[in-house]
């Protein structure tokens, strides 16, 4: 629709017309704010836990496990220098505690959602796929936090009564 609108603006005499073709879906998925009646509260990005531990590919598992114990989390996301998600450390890997690199034990390419995802849709997916949480990344893959099913359910209960 925006290409047609941009063409129409040109036909109306505008000299420098830009077409943001990726639109508000792209804006929201980058974690940028939107305004309107469908408030931020209805989106996944408003309910994430951002204190989830992260680690690097080349770290050793026992050291990361020690960090996890201190944090109280039982999962950890493997990120690169730009915080792009490369993998996830699951409970089995963490329990094993072998002296190996993270790269050897991580689960690569975990499913992620965008901060702009509608909470109701995410929760439905979590229920259908029996997921207890989902990592949230921006559209360029950067880790922003974790949405837990419990948090999503509580948030939906709050604003849907």
């Amino acid at each position: 629709m925006s290409p047609r609108a941009a063409a129409r603006l040109e036909s109306l005499g505008f000299e420098q017309v830009y077409d943001y073709v990726a639109g508000k879906a792209d804006w929201g998925s980058a974690g940028l704010p939107l305004e309107g009646t469908n408030g931020r509260e209805t989106r996944a990005g408003a309910h994430i836990r951002s204190d989830v531990p992260t680690c690097r590919l080349d770290e050793r598992l026992p050291i990361v496990c020690e960090r996890l114990e201190q944090s109280g989390w039982d999962t950890c996301f493997v990120v690169d220098d730009r915080r792009v998600v490369l993998g996830r450390l699951g409970r089995r890997a963490i329990r094993g505690r072998e002296d190996v690199s993270i790269e050897e034990v991580m689960t690569p390419g975990p499913s992620t959602i965008r901060p702009s995802a509608r909470l109701r849709d995410v929760l439905e997916r979590m229920r259908t796929q029996k997921l207890t949480n989902l990592p949230v990344t921006t559209s360029d893959g950067r880790f922003t936090g974790l949405l837990t099913r419990r948090d999503a359910e509580e948030a939906l209960r709050r604003f849907e009564g």
Binding site: S2, A5, A6, L9, D26
Partner: protein, 67 residues
């Protein structure tokens, strides 16, 4: 011919004062829109609706996504 803009360029144009025009139906604009955007649904886009906008300055049109 309109210039395709990615998010970074849009952010730069906004800081330079370019108006943002959401061309989706008004209900979708009210639901959510980019900060500072104005609503001119495509079906209402005519001379009268853009009368107050400067023709010589950059202007950005957007909708939901690539549809």
């Amino acid at each position: 011919m309109p210039t395709p803009a990615d998010r970074e360029l849009v952010q730069q144009l906004i800081t330079e004062g370019a108006p943002l025009v959401e061309v989706l139906p008004r209900a979708e604009y009210e639901d959510e829109h980019l900060p500072g955007a104005i609503s001119i649904p495509l079906r209402e886009l005519d001379r009268e609706r853009v009368r107050q906008l400067e023709r010589s300055r950059p202007i950005i049109a957007y909708c939901y996504d690539y549809q």
